[in-house]
């Protein structure tokens, strides 16, 4: 292999050292991905906004509101069909597919296609959101960069959520919610080892957003305050309305999507026009149904509420978004779910305020809670929804009503629609993503459930020959060595066989060079409460197939051993059956 000798160049030497240090690389790439994704998403937001302003100039004709989304969906429909098939839809199920099925691979073409098609689609007024596509673009950038840098499969996979959090932090201006969303929804594990990198990229992306666009929250909302404790009842009612509204939206979307999927494949490029035309016709009469509608949401949040208008918009947006998404347009449901929630909240708030004006806050406060409620019901990430609204308002007092309402909506949605929307969407495409609860269950299985009782430990004075003879009777590939009832470490069969080959039959175990490493204080081990996944990691790191299980109170107190097969069997994947083998 051709080489450039860096020995005379300290910079190259330093760079080479950097490349070989995984921790440093992870840190560096978190920063780079955060900044790069932040810049791309900011460009996406600005381009979409400007193009939309061009499409819909002030005082434009009503027919424009029909023609533009129809034409936009026709154009993007063809591009998606012909060139970018993986850029269709939201982007979040696709990202999860890449992470759990495709080893973190998202192609550059998909990234470009997603960016271009969503820009056109959203600018033309399609009633979908920009957050989901941003997530896929962010994850794609991370994936492309990691592969281009020659990182291994695991490293590529670990950078996908890093890109997701960076994208969401920039797209929604909520860095903490972005981290939580990446962990809660994308990874399904709030304790994922990539937490640090995810936080770093989210913060970097958010800083880029602020550098370019300034310190301007997505929504300017008045200070929230609870007027009277009786309001908790209304917030609970909002949770119920939000829960049922969420289920209605998800069911309608899934049913419509199934109907479109059953149409002839040749019509796939034309199907998005149904969404574009549908939303255009609605927009002809009610312009606020077009696009993501954040401007209207802000007006509602600031108390500019008319019951009939918000109730009608909630229904129209549910239909418009379901139709646009199901027909195959590019765009997400993250933003529309907030719009729907705000309208439902404002409607409930209007009713509450009409009957008990002295005891209830302005309908805008209910719209704010409603946003989180619908998000919790539709996307099913209750923690993210609470933190997201908290970040949007920067108001701590909102937390309790928000939690009440969100949890009720989450519960109703869970009862009536067991499968979360992103998993259901993937399911419709024939992809079975690992369910969050299954991933969490795997993470919860402890070593104690699969460990074996401790085998007889060798003394340090045991000869290699005796030890080899004793180990031949068992199925373990390593055995404990103890002195005075205290574990010193493990001796492997390989070490014993090597000693025998070298004529060391009469040697005692403490004479073995390899064993001397084993008696170090930090010999590889597990505790009974450790998870099986940690057991796998430790075995991989130490390159062994057996680990001792020791007490947390005394690391020299041997409680048992666990083998690679035991762990694999515990996880429900391939592993030699001990009983079968014995037979």
């Amino acid at each position: 292999m051709p080489q450039i000798d860096p020995s005379e160049k300290p910079l190259l030497r330093w760079l080479e050292g950097l490349r070989r240090n995984e921790t440093r690389i992870s840190l560096l790439l978190s920063l780079i991905i955060g900044a790069l994704v932040g810049l791309v998403v900011v460009a996406f937001i600005l381009l979409t906004g400007r193009l939309a302003a061009r499409m819909y100039p002030a005082g434009g004709s009503g027919w424009r509101r029909v023609l533009v989304p129809a034409t936009g969906s026709l154009l993007t429909g063809y591009l998606l069909f012909r060139y970018f098939p993986f850029a269709r839809g939201s982007g979040i199920p696709q990202t999860k597919f890449a992470l759990f099925v495709a080893d973190g691979v998202i192609h550059l073409r998909t990234v470009i296609g997603k960016f271009a098609c969503c820009t056109m689609s959203l600018a033309s007024g399609i009633a979908l959101g920009r957050e989901g596509p941003s997530v896929q673009v962010g994850a794609g950038i991370a994936s492309v960069l990691a592969r281009r840098l020659g990182l291994n499969r695991e490293q590529v996979k670990s950078l996908v959520p890093v890109g997701c959090s960076a994208a969401l932090a920039a797209a929604f201006n909520t860095p903490i919610a972005a981290v939580l969303f990446s962990l809660e929804e994308i990874l399904g594990d709030l304790h994922a080892p990539v937490l640090g990198a995810v936080v770093l990229s989210s913060a970097t992306s958010w800083m880029v957003l602020h550098l370019v666009l300034g310190d301007d929250p997505l929504f300017h909302v008045p200070a929230y305050h609870l007027v009277h404790p009786v309001e908790f009842a209304f917030y609970a009612a909002l949770g119920v309305v939000g829960g049922f509204g969420s289920v209605l939206f998800v069911q309608l979307l899934l049913q419509l999507r199934k109907w479109f999927a059953d149409l002839p494949k040749q019509t796939a490029w034309l199907q998005p026009v149904a969404g574009g035309l549908g939303v255009g016709l609605m927009g002809y009469f009610v312009p606020d149904v077009l696009g993501v509608g954040y401007n209207y949401v802000e007006r509602v949040l600031n108390g500019n509420v008319v019951f009939q208008a918000v109730a009608m918009l909630a229904i129209l947006k549910i239909v418009a978004t379901a139709l646009c998404y199901a027909s195959g347009n590019a765009g997400g449901i993250f933003g529309p779910s907030l719009f729907i929630g705000a309208m439902l909240g404002a409607a409930v708030g209007s009713v509450a305020h009409f009957f008990l004006p002295g005891y209830t806050a302005d309908p805008g406060a209910y719209a704010l809670i409603g946003m989180g409620t619908a998000f919790a019901g539709i996307v099913r990430t209750p923690l993210t929804s609470v933190i997201m609204i908290f970040e949007l308002t920067r108001d701590y007092t909102i937390i309790v009503p928000l939690m009440i309402s969100n949890l009720i909506a989450f519960f109703i949605s869970y009862q009536l629609q067991r499968e979360p929307i992103y998993e259901a969407l993937a399911h419709q495409d024939g992809v079975h993503l690992p369910k969050v609860e299954h991933r969490a269950a795997y993470g919860r299985i402890r070593v104690a459930t699969v460990m074996r009782p401790p085998p007889q430990a060798f003394a340090l004075s045991t000869t290699v020959k005796d030890a080899a003879a004793a180990t031949a009777e068992g199925d373990l590939e390593a055995w404990p060595v103890a002195a005075g009832g205290k574990l010193l470490g493990m001796i492997s069969l390989a070490d014993l066989q090597l000693a025998l080959l070298n004529g060391g039959e009469a040697c005692e175990l403490h004479d073995l060079g390899s064993f001397s490493d084993a008696v170090r204080a930090d010999f590889p081990h597990l505790h009974p409460d450790h998870t099986l996944s940690l057991g796998l990691e430790r075995m991989g790191a130490a390159n062994v197939k057996v680990l001792p299980i020791v007490s947390r109170a005394d690391v020299r107190n041997l409680l048992g051993v666990v083998t690679l097969d035991d762990i694999l069997r515990g996880l429900g994947v391939a592993g030699k059956d001990r009983d079968q083998e014995a037979d």
Binding site: I4, L39, L149, G150, L213
Partner: protein, 369 residues
């Protein structure tokens, strides 16, 4: 030491390429952001001007929509926020207007326009004492341009409010400040002089009108003003003279004519006028008693209460017995009785509307002093 392999070169090459890409993206983002800002500013300005036009046409509802749209684009733009508050006030949405202006004041408590708007809103809500405080903040706060004339205008607005509220002490203090600012501005001094009358300080008003007449002896308004001042001080002869001068200078003015008639009526009734004979003084006092009795009788419509009947009886007795007496005591006694009857009449039927009764009331009031 390992060498720099092709994979390493590719690694660092990618990093460099990424850095370049980030630089390009940053430049693109900044360009787009600036374009967006410029376009948004223009769009917001258009909406703002449209809102102002609608507001001037009296369409506050649609003006509010335009201002809100402008604010959605250019968040925190002070001029738009103020315009929105103004429109909300014009649409009588006082609580929303108050919320909007209070929001501005939380970040800019010395903003005079916001303070003024909040003062107007509070007036509309009937919270006058709070409104006065915000008027003062508006006067002493910060104006973006033309501060002196703006402050003056606000002080005039405050003065008008105080006059409406009959808050005479506060009104007087504002007028004194305005007088200092007025300098040689005749029109302003004229307004102030009129307001001194409203505030119940006719001496000061008379002095200012006198000063105005010194500068312009054919100033009908100043004659009228001084006449009112003298009238308030119960110097009816001087008042009548000034009313006459004013009527001479402004013949078709109905107000002046009415006031002159009243003044003349008072002069024909007033027993305290100088250079009256004892007989005339007695005649006038009896006339006052007679008029008071007549007014009371009419007011009670022929069915007076027992207490009133007794007073009426005493008055009739007095009229019979005092006809031939010219002594000062008899005059005084008649006047006292007339006053008592008048007070009862006022208590029973309220203040009179007819010119004759008004004159009677004023003469008796002067006599009581």
């Amino acid at each position: 030491m390992s060498g720099l392999t092709i994979s390493s070169a590719r690694f660092f090459g990618t990093l460099v390429l990424t850095g370049v890409l980030m630089g390009v993206l940053f430049a693109l983002d900044m360009f787009l952001a600036n374009t967006v800002k410029t376009e948004s500013r223009t769009e917001a300005e258009l909406l703002f001007h449209e809102g102002q036009r609608l507001l001037q046409q009296g369409d506050a509802g649609h003006a509010i929509d335009r201002f809100r749209e402008a604010l959605t684009i250019a968040r925190g733009e002070r001029a738009y926020q103020l315009a929105l508050a103004d429109a909300l006030l014009a649409a009588n949405k006082t609580s929303e207007a108050a919320a909007e202006t209070e929001q501005i004041l939380t970040t800019d408590s010395t903003n005079s326009r916001a303070n003024l708007l909040l003062a107007r809103t509070l007036v509309r809500q009937g919270k006058v004492s709070q409104a006065i405080s915000y008027y003062h903040r508006a006067i002493y706060g910060h104006w973006d341009s033309d501060a002196a004339s703006q402050k003056l205008a606000v002080r005039w607005e405050l003065v008008a409010l105080l006059a409406r509220q009959s808050a005479n002490q506060e009104l007087l203090s504002e007028l004194l400040l305005l007088e200092t600012e007025a300098g040689d501005k005749l029109e302003m001094r004229r307004r102030i002089a009129h307001l001194y009358l409203v505030a119940g300080f006719p001496e000061r008003a008379a002095q200012m009108f006198r000063d105005l007449l010194r500068r312009n002896p054919v100033d009908a308004d100043a004659y009228f003003g001084r006449a009112e001042a003298e009238f308030s001080r119960a110097n009816y002869r001087s008042a009548c003279s000034d009313f006459r001068n004013a009527a001479h200078l402004e013949p078709p003015d109905d107000d002046i004519r009415k006031r002159l008639n009243l003044c003349d009526e008072i002069l024909t009734l007033d027993p305290s006028e100088r250079r009256l004979s004892a007989e005339e003084r007695s005649r006038r006092s009896l006339k006052l008693l007679e008029l008071s009795l007549d007014s009371l009788t009419k007011c009670t419509a022929g069915s007076p209460s027992d207490a009133l009947r007794s007073s009426i009886g005493r008055a009739n007795q007095a009229l019979k017995h005092s006809r031939r007496s010219l002594s000062p005591d008899a005059v005084e006694s008649s006047l006292q009785l007339a006053e008592q009857l008048w007070q009862k009449r006022t208590k029973q039927c309220g203040q009179p509307a007819a010119v004759g009764d008004q004159a009677l009331a004023l003469v008796l009031k002067k006599a009581a002093q």
